[in-house]
C-alpha cells in the first residue's frame, strides 16, 4: 500500500512543495495528500482510491515540471513516483526498464554500470524519467542517437476506463499502439500514470567525451562580437552540424543576461564510435569562435580527471559516468519562468539584435543575473523522418532548440521577471518570419518548428492554436487517444490534451 502523507503529517509541508517556488500560485490550489508509491501495485491501489473518492490525481516523478501541472490540484492527491526508481531488467524479462521515478542521473549511472549503455538524453540529472521521456527527452548524445522516446519499445501505464476502473496496460507498437505512440512525445499527465519505460535495446555509452567551455565576459562584449558568437553557432548547426560525422557534438550557448557577467559556449563531443581519438570535428567547431577570443576557458563542473590530450583548443576529457549528474535541490524556493523555441534555420540579424537588446536590458531593482537563453544544438539523429509516424514528436527538422529561462527568489519580483521574458519572446516572434495569424509565437513554418512540451509554457494557451505549437499536425490524433484511454479526463492540467 502506498504511503499516504496527509496535512497532519510533519512530512507533508516538504513533500507537497513543487520544485518551482511559484507553485502552487495560491495555497488554496495545493494538494491535500501525497501518495508515495513503492510498486506498481501500490500505484494502482492508490490511484483507484483517488478515483473512488472523487478526487483528482496529479503525478510527480522528478518534480521538474516548469508549470503547475502537478502542484495545482485543490484538495487532490499527488501520486509521487519518486521511490519507484528501478533501472535495469527483471528476472523474467531481459528488456531494459527505466521506472518513472528514476532520475536521469540514476538511469545514466545504472545503465552504464549494468550494461555499458545509456539513454540518449537529457541534460539535467535530477529530472525524473516519468515526465521527461514521454515528452521526448533529448540531451548530450541525442544528436548521435535520437531522442530517448525514439528508443522506447513499451510503456507500462495505469489508465482509468470509462467506469472509473484502474488497469495496468503494457502498450507497444502492437498492443494499444495508438496509446504507445502518444506516450512518445505528448508529455506527462495526459493519459495515465506511467510506471515503466521499456527498451528492447539502448545505445552504447560513449567511452569518453571531450568537454569544452569558452567564456565571453560581458565586460568585453560588444554587439558586433555577440553577433559573431551567436551567428557562428547557429550557422554551424544549420549547415555543417547536420553532417553525420558531427552528430556526436552537442553544444550550448549559454546566453546569460549581462548582469550575470558572461556568455558561455559549451561543447561535449565524442565520435560516432564513442571515442575521442579524433577531435577534428570539435576542433573545427571551436575554431569558429577563435576570432571572438574567449578570454577565459574553464572546464565544466564536475570534472575529476582533466585529460592531458589537448589539441589546439582547450578541452577536457571526462569519463562518461561522470557526466550528466547535475543534482540540485528537490523542492527549491527558487522561482522560475521558461519558454522554448525549435529553430529550423540560423538566427537572423534581427533575432540576434533582439537577443542583445533584451540580454542587456535592465530593470531597476530587479536582479536579472540568473536570466539566460540557452541555445542547444539539435538535429542529427533526432531529425530522422521515419520517427514522425512512430512518435508524436513532430519537430524533426530543427537545428537548434532555445530555452528562455529566468530565476529569482523574491515573489515581489514575479511581475518584473515575467515581463522581461514575455516581452522578449513576443517581440522576437513578431517578425517577418512568422505569418500574420501567428505573430508573437514560433509557429511551425519555414523558420520555426513550434515549442517543446517538456519546456512547457502556460502563456502559450492564450493562443487558440497552442496545440499546433507543441504537437504540429498530431493534435487530433492525440485527442482521439485521450478520448479512448481517458474518457473522463481524469488526468488533466492546464496544457493537457483536451478531447
Amino acid at each position: 500500500m502506498a504511503i499516504l502523507v496527509t496535512r497532519d503529517d510533519v512530512r507533508f509541508e516538504n513533500l507537497r512543495r513543487a520544485r518551482n517556488g511559484r507553485w502552487p500560485a495560491d495555497p488554496a490550489d495545493g494538494i491535500s495528500r501525497v501518495a508515495l508509491c513503492l510498486s506498481p501495485e501500490d500505484t494502482e491501489e492508490a490511484l483507484q482510491r483517488v478515483i473512488n473518492a472523487g478526487q483528482r490525481p496529479t503525478i510527480r516523478s522528478g518534480g521538474h515540471c516548469y508549470e503547475d501541472f502537478y502542484a495545482n490540484n485543490p484538495k487532490g492527491t499527488l501520486i509521487d513516483m519518486s521511490m519507484m526508481d528501478h533501472v535495469g531488467d527483471l528476472p523474467h524479462d531481459a528488456r531494459y526498464r527505466v521506472s518513472a521515478g528514476a532520475t536521469l542521473a540514476k538511469a545514466y549511472q545504472d545503465l552504464y554500470k549494468l550494461y555499458n549503455l545509456t539513454l540518449p538524453g537529457g541534460t539535467c540529472g535530477s529530472v525524473g524519467a516519468g515526465g521527461h521521456i514521454t515528452g521526448g527527452g533529448y540531451g548530450f548524445v541525442s544528436r548521435l542517437y535520437g531522442t530517448t522516446a525514439d528508443w522506447v519499445t513499451g510503456v507500462d501505464i495505469l489508465t482509468v476506463d470509462s467506469k472509473g476502473k484502474v488497469a495496468l496496460r503494457t502498450c507497444t507498437a502492437k498492443q494499444d499502439g495508438d496509446l504507445f505512440r502518444a506516450c512518445r512525445g505528448a508529455g506527462g499527465g495526459n493519459f495515465g500514470v506511467i510506471i515503466d519505460y521499456i527498451f528492447d535495446k539502448l545505445p552504447p555509452a560513449p567511452q569518453e567525451v571531450m568537454v569544452s567551455n569558452m567564456i565571453f565576459p560581458w565586460a568585453e562584449m560588444t554587439e558586433e562580437k555577440f553577433t559573431k558568437i551567436v551567428d557562428a553557432f547557429g550557422g554551424y548547426f544549420a549547415a555543417r552540424g547536420q553532417d553525420p560525422d558531427t552528430w556526436g557534438l552537442f553544444a550550448v550557448i549559454e546566453a546569460n543576461h549581462r548582469e550575470s557577467g558572461f556568455v558561455r559556449v559549451s561543447a561535449q563531443f565524442c565520435n560516432p564510435d564513442g571515442t575521442c581519438k579524433d577531435t577534428k570535428v570539435l576542433d573545427e567547431f571551436l575554431a569558429l569562435f577563435d576570432a571572438c577570443k574567449p578570454s577565459a576557458v574553464s572546464p565544466a563542473p564536475p570534472v575529476s580527471r582533466p585529460a592531458a590530450g589537448f589539441g589546439p583548443h582547450m578541452m577536457t576529457r571526462v569519463p562518461w559516468a561522470e557526466t550528466g549528474a547535475a543534482g540540485g535541490t528537490r523542492h527549491g524556493s527558487t522561482r522560475a519562468k521558461y519558454k522554448s523555441t525549435c529553430m529550423k534555420k540560423n538566427f537572423t540579424a534581427r533575432e540576434i539584435r533582439l537577443f542583445y537588446k533584451h540580454l542587456t536590458r535592465t530593470m531597476p531593482g530587479v536582479d536579472l543575473s540568473h536570466t539566460v537563453v540557452e541555445v542547444d544544438s539539435y538535429g542529427g539523429a533526432m531529425n530522422r523522418k521515419e520517427m514522425l509516424e512512430e512518435t508524436v514528436a513532430f519537430q524533426r527538422s530543427s537545428v537548434m532548440k532555445l530555452q528562455f529561462q529566468t530565476y529569482w527568489t523574491d515573489p515581489a519580483e514575479d511581475e518584473a521577471h515575467l515581463t522581461w521574458i514575455r516581452e522578449f519572446y513576443k517581440e522576437l516572434y513578431s517578425s517577418p518570419e512568422v505569418d500574420a495569424a501567428h505573430q508573437g509565437t514560433p509557429f511551425p513554418g519555414e523558420s520555426y518548428e513550434g515549442c517543446y512540451i517538456n519546456w512547457c509554457d502556460q502563456d502559450m494557451i492564450e493562443y487558440a492554436y497552442w496545440p499546433e505549437l507543441y504537437y504540429g499536425p498530431n493534435y487530433k490524433f492525440l485527442q482521439q487517444v485521450k478520448k479512448k484511454y481517458d474518457p473522463n479526463n481524469v488526468f488533466h492540467h492546464a496544457m493537457s490534451i483536451r478531447a
Binding site: 487532490g76 482509468v160 470509462s162 467506469k163 472509473g164 481524469v490 492540467h493
Partner: protein, 371 residues
C-alpha cells in the same frame, strides 16, 4: 396519453403576432421607454440566452416588459437567492484555461435590474457546466459540470459575491448510449435539509451528496436504467418523491426519497414516452399536484395523486421547449423555445394548461428564473 388542447398553429401565430406587435411598439420608441422602472409590485423574469441575460418585469401577471439586457456567456442555468442571481456559463474556456465559470448579479430590489457582482472560474477541466443550485442558507452554490464530469462547490459571501471553488467531486462513469462515453452531470438541486441531489446523464446515476466544510461527499448513489440518461430532476413539495426525466430513452421515473437520511429508497414508477433526444425538462406545480414535462415534443401534464404516481392529462402539442418554469404563484407555466418565451396559464382547478402565448421574442433562450 396526452391530448392537444383547443389550440392550433394558426391561433398560436395570431396570438404571438399581436403580442409581439405590442413588444415591437415599445421597442420602436427606444430603449429608454422599455427601461422605465416598473411598479413596486412587479415581478421579474430573468432569461438566459446565447450571449446575454434579458430582464423582464411581469406586469399584471402576464405582460412581459423588457427592462434590461446584460452580456453573459451562454447562461445555461439561473438561480435566485437573497436578491442575487447566480448564473452558470456553459463555456469550455475561461481565462485561457479549460474551465467554465459562474456569475453573481445583484438584483435591484425595486427595479429588478442586474448589476454584475463578480464572475468566478470553475475548477480546471470543469468545462460546459449545465446546472447550478444555491444552498438553502445561501452560503454556497453547487454546479453540475456536464462537460468536465464533476461537481464544483463555490462559497458565497455575505454580500452575494462568489468565492473560489472550495470543493470538487470528480465523477467517472459511462453508459451504453453513444452520448454516454463519460460522466455528464446534468442536474443539481438541494433538498429541504441542504443535501444535494444530482443526475448524471452520462453514467445513468442519481446521487445524494452532502456538502460539508465546502466539500461534497457522496451520501448515496442510485443506478438508473442503463442508457436512459437522467437529465433533469425535481422533488415534490414534501421532498418525499424525486421525479427524473430521462432524455436518452424518453422516459420519466419517480423514486421514493427519504430526506431525513438522504437516501433514494426505490424506484416507484416509470412512464415511457415516444421521443428521445438530448434534452428533457420538467417543472412541478407549487402545490405538488401536477408535473409538467417535455422531451422536446410538446408539453406533457401529469397529475400526481397522494400515492405519487404519474397520471397523464391532456398536454400541449406543437412546441419544443428546452426549459420549463412554473411561476411561484402557480398561475402560469413559462416555456423557452428556440426563439421565444411562451406563457401558458394554468387552470386553478385542473392545473391544465391554456394555449401558449408568445410573450417575448428571443434568440436561443436557454434558462429562466422568476422572482
Amino acid at each position: 396519453m396526452t391530448q392537444p388542447i383547443g389550440w392550433d398553429r394558426r391561433r398560436f401565430v395570431q396570438i404571438a403576432s399581436s403580442t409581439w406587435l405590442l413588444g415591437a411598439v415599445g421597442s420602436r420608441f427606444g430603449w429608454a421607454a422599455s427601461l422605465a422602472d416598473p411598479p413596486r409590485s412587479a415581478r421579474f423574469a430573468y432569461i438566459g440566452a446565447e450571449h446575454e441575460i434579458h430582464v423582464y418585469s411581469i406586469a399584471g401577471g402576464d405582460r412581459f416588459i423588457k427592462l434590461q439586457r446584460v452580456d453573459s456567456a451562454n447562461p445555461v442555468a439561473l438561480a435566485i437567492r437573497n436578491r442575487n442571481l447566480y448564473v452558470a456559463n456553459c463555456v469550455t474556456g475561461y481565462g485561457s484555461l479549460p474551465r467554465g465559470s459562474v456569475e453573481a448579479y445583484a438584483i435591484d430590489s425595486i427595479t429588478g435590474k442586474l448589476l454584475l457582482t463578480n464572475r468566478a472560474p470553475l475548477a480546471l477541466s470543469a468545462i460546459s457546466p449545465r446546472d447550478l443550485a444555491v444552498a438553502p442558507d445561501g452560503r454556497c452554490v453547487v454546479v453540475a459540470v456536464h462537460g468536465g464530469g464533476a461537481y464544483n462547490v463555490l462559497s458565497i459571501d455575505e454580500d452575494g459575491r462568489l468565492g473560489r471553488v472550495s470543493g470538487i467531486l470528480k465523477e467517472t462513469g459511462s453508459g451504453p448510449h453513444s452520448l454516454q462515453a463519460s460522466a455528464h452531470p446534468s442536474a443539481v438541486m438541494f433538498d429541504r435539509v441542504g443535501r444535494v441531489l444530482t443526475a448524471d446523464q452520462g453514467s445513468d446515476t442519481l446521487s445524494v451528496l452532502t456538502p460539508c466544510s465546502g466539500e461534497l461527499t457522496v451520501a448515496d448513489r442510485c443506478a438508473v436504467t442503463a442508457g436512459s440518461g437522467p437529465t433533469s430532476i425535481v422533488l415534490d413539495a414534501d421532498c418525499r418523491r424525486l421525479y427524473v426525466a430521462h432524455a436518452l430513452n424518453g422516459s420519466l421515473s419517480s423514486f421514493e426519497y427519504d430526506a431525513r437520511i438522504g437516501r433514494i429508497l426505490r424506484r416507484e414508477q416509470t412512464v415511457w414516452l415516444s421521443v428521445v433526444g438530448e434534452r428533457a425538462v420538467m417543472a412541478i406545480h407549487p402545490s405538488g399536484e401536477t408535473l409538467y414535462s417535455s422531451h422536446g415534443d410538446g408539453i406533457r401534464v401529469w397529475r400526481i395523486p397522494a400515492n405519487g404516481s404519474l397520471n397523464a392529462l391532456p398536454g400541449v402539442d406543437g412546441i419544443r421547449p428546452n426549459t420549463l418554469q412554473v411561476t411561484s404563484d402557480g398561475k402560469c407555466l413559462l416555456a423557452l423555445c428556440s426563439d421565444a418565451l411562451l406563457r401558458m396559464k394554468i387552470n386553478a382547478g385542473s392545473q391544465l394548461l391554456a394555449a401558449p402565448v408568445k410573450v417575448a421574442s428571443l434568440s436561443k433562450p436557454m434558462s429562466i428564473a422568476v422572482l
